[in-house]
């Protein structure tokens, strides 16, 4: 990667550049990136690190599918398999699906509101570095064979010392703690930036939809995030300092963790997907050649989703024997939360209606969300029903559901954002042909991988097991083949990014253009302001 010369270093080494001078220049360049407090640079750092975490967690997933390709236990020891699904889930959710949108948010939200930078630039840098370290703390035990084995939910009392004594479990707590601190601080930062650093004349109801996605996700993170911090601290105390918060001998001791954990972690799934909905709101109008259909309804349905999503968390506990009133309440609200999301998607569909649609890659991915998230939302409704959930809970139906909403929502949203904003970040467009290969590979791969899981679930295949009855081989084989295809498609993305970074500039290397929206002039030039980072000296 070429790097822009640091002015001071260049002056000193002008004329016959010695090796020492080059090294000094490299140090200045590295310093200007690693210690940066500039929102755009932090955004780029987020994108790089978080996509690397996506790569690692994706390889974990592929390893699991490789093990599940045959009914027997052949590739891994069971505890390694447990470690794989724990780290895969934790890293995908907490270190990809949440911070990826901090990356896009950093790069674009300040510009969208007309701010020079984030409200607290150095706090912003801290959030990034905590995401970086959290990924390392989470993954290291995997390589030291000190596996955290309790899954991404890490239910107490299963995660108490008598049942899981590895350092990996302790470091799982530390990693998730660091990530939650990071995302809570980032959320505070986004909200204050939008509230305080707006240019005069920028009203909340003229903000780009992506900014609304960030606002709603940040509200959830600020309100709910610290509950997880509290639960993690209590778990750590139980493991190390002899407290008895999650004492299984108490009548509700086994449920306490789940109550607190899901109060955060259900809203957390919306933290992962609301910004993706925001990206759809930027991409779909532009490539449909029409203004967004009813901006107000879009914003209100984002806000409605936010509000209702904070009340559905007891639906994770239908099978635990919690009080019926909680189950009934959350069953109703879970059905209810599909209403604002449905309104949002109908708005996006109405935006497409009679538009002149261009199927560029950002649009393909946005439409991919429209398709896949709808499937994931629909199969989630089965889980909202208490009697059906009692049969399907902890089966592969659940795995199918979560991957349709999170791969189909968050990951596809991240790809849409990457293709859409790549020219604004690097001054070049990603290659369209490779992009189409990436999209179709991902779409077909995701459906092949995760759709059969619904049938596996109804056949009774339980999640988090390393072996299964031979009768379920066919569906598992399809799923594994789909996973391989999904993985290959991501190799195409990686190749596309690397190729685009180093290829010479082309005539069409301009940003994708601004969203068209009738009631907003301010957002228009914002996304269009390009600055080059990699190509600065070239």
């Amino acid at each position: 990667m070429s790097f822009p010369p640091a002015t001071r270093g260049q002056r000193r080494t002008r004329g016959g550049e010695a090796a020492g001078g080059r090294f000094l220049r490299f140090l200045r360049w590295a310093r200007s990136w690693l210690l940066t407090t500039n929102h755009k640079r932090i955004g780029i750092l987020y994108l790089i690190v978080v996509f690397v975490w996506f790569l690692f967690a994706g390889l974990d997933g592929l390893a699991m599918r490789a093990e599940l390709a045959t009914p027997q236990t052949d590739l891994f020891q069971p505890d390694l398999y447990d470690g794989l699904f724990t780290v895969h889930g934790t890293q995908m959710l907490f270190l990809f699906a949440i911070p990826i949108f901090s990356g896009f948010g950093n790069a674009f939200v300040p510009k969208m509101v007309g701010a020079k930078d984030m409200a607290f630039p150095r706090l912003n840098a801290l959030s990034f570095w905590l995401i970086f370290w959290a990924g390392i703390v989470l993954r290291l035990p995997l390589y030291a064979r000190l596996f955290p084995t309790e899954g991404w939910t890490s239910y107490a009392p299963l995660s108490l010392t008598p049942f899981s004594s590895t350092t990996g479990e302790d470091w799982w707590i530390v990693a998730v703690f660091l990530e939650t601190v990071a995302s809570t601080l980032a959320a505070v930062n986004f909200l204050v930036t939008i509230q305080r650093e707006r240019r005069k004349g920028v009203r909340y109801f003229s903000l780009p939809v992506f900014a609304w996605g960030v606002i709603t996700a940040s509200l959830l993170a600020v309100v709910a995030g610290p509950f997880l911090l509290g639960a993690l601290a209590m778990l750590f105390f139980d493991r190390w300092y002899g407290t008895s918060f999650f004492d299984p001998s108490l009548p509700n001791g086994t449920l306490l963790w789940q109550h607190i954990f899901w109060f955060y972690s259900h809203p957390a799934t919306y933290i992962m997907v609301l910004p993706a909905f925001g990206i759809m709101g930027e991409v779909i109008p532009l490539f449909a050649g029409k203004p967004l259909f009813s901006y107000r309804w879009v914003v209100w349905s984002l806000l409605g989703t936010t509000l209702v999503s904070a009340t559905v968390f007891w639906h994770h506990m239908f099978v635990t024997g919690q009080e019926e009133a909680y189950s009934t309440f959350s069953s109703v609200t879970t059905f209810l939360v599909s209403v604002p999301t449905g309104v949002l998607f109908l708005n996006y569909l109405a935006t497409l209606w009679r538009g002149t649609i261009r199927f560029a890659t950002p649009m393909l991915f946005a439409l991919g969300i429209l398709a896949l998230f709808t499937v994931g939302g629909a199969d989630g409704l089965y889980l909202a029903s208490i009697p059906l959930d009692r049969a399907l809970h902890s089966t592969y139906w659940l795995i199918g559901h979560i991957h349709f909403v999170l791969f189909g929502g968050s990951a596809m949203g991240a790809f849409a954002g990457l293709y859409y904003w790549f020219p604004d970040l690097w001054g070049r467009r990603l290659d369209e042909r490779w992009g189409r290969v990436h999209f179709w590979g991902t779409l077909v791969g995701v459906v092949l991988t995760f759709f059969p899981m619904h049938f596996l679930g109804t056949e009774g295949m339980v999640r988090r097991v390393i072996s299964y009855p031979p009768g379920l081989f066919d569906l598992n084989a399809i799923s594994t083949l789909g996973a391989v295809l999904t993985g290959l498609a991501q190799v195409v993305l990686l190749g596309n990014v690397l190729y685009t970074l180093f290829r010479p500039l082309r005539a069409d290397d301009v940003p994708w253009g601004a969203p068209l929206r009738a009631d907003d002039q301010l957002a228009a030039p914002v996304a269009l302001e390009p600055t080059s980072v990699a190509g600065g000296s070239g």
Partner: protein, 248 residues
């Protein structure tokens, strides 16, 4: 096509926007927490680095002029930041209070209500004194005097809490004493840590004001710290009512 537009280099100042403190602080927090289950010296050195980078971060803030507020009028960005931080901190304490729902035995033991009420009154009065002091930032003598009184009252409270912990431990009521011990020490300890953090911030302001390093131009920061101090007082109202008076 406008190919040139993609070649516009970043302004040189972007490369100069750096600070070492967030990097160090993140490293230190990771070393501290990651070290806890592995090695005590490692965790302690992480904690030392954490304190050092907090001091360095604060000092670097003192050295630079206060950043300009945004175009829109109203509360400062620090005020908004502190309000949101308080909302999330409230969740931290609430998660501890939620533990009470699983622990019916959490109110088994009687705690020392009258003496603690005295200490609580000391803490709450520090909030009033501090609020009074912040309104007088332009009169340096009153400001520093008020702050010193606030800090003294806060220290008195922390001292009482240390005394009470000692007494309870001597009576055999410890962190390991079932649900009540866990919840009592977790919540009061979390609150105590917040008091100590607040005292550190107030102490820094007092020291800087005495050294004439900060003046009324830093009012937003001082007000934000005082908002935090009020929050710490308010949390104690809830904790005293729940843990001591059993209003739950």
């Amino acid at each position: 096509m406008q190919v040139e537009i993609a070649k516009v280099p970043e302004s040189p100042s972007v490369a100069e926007e750096t600070s070492v403190w967030p990097f160090l602080f993140g490293l230190a927090l990771t070393a501290f927490l990651g070290g806890l289950p592995v090695s005590r010296p490692f965790a302690l050195s992480g904690f030392a680095l954490l304190l050092a980078s907090a001091v360095g971060w604060t000092w670097s803030n003192v050295l630079r002029p206060p950043p300009e507020e945004g175009e829109i009028g109203g509360r400062s960005r620090l005020w908004w930041g502190m309000v949101l931080l308080i909302v999330s901190e409230a969740g931290l304490f609430l998660s501890g209070l939620l533990a009470l729902t699983a622990h019916p035995e959490a109110f088994a033991r009687d705690l020392n209500r009258p003496l603690t009420l005295g200490a609580s009154l000391v803490l709450w009065s520090s909030g009033f004194v501090g609020g009074w002091a912040v309104k007088r930032m332009d009169r340096r003598g009153r400001f520093t005097g008020g702050l010193a009184a606030t800090i003294a009252l806060g220290l008195l409270f922390v001292g009482y809490q240390a005394f009470e912990y000692r007494r309870l431990y001597a009576e055999g009521f410890t962190l390991q004493s079932g649900g009540q011990g866990s919840i009592f020490y977790f919540l009061t300890g979390l609150h105590g840590a917040h008091v100590v953090g607040g005292l550190a911030m107030l102490g820094a302001i007092l020291g800087l004001a005495l050294a004439r390093r900060i003046g009324p131009s830093r009012a937003p920061a001082v007000r934000a710290v005082m908002l935090y101090w009020h929050f710490v007082d308010a949390v104690w109202v809830v904790l005293y009512a729940v843990l001591y008076l059993r209003l739950f």
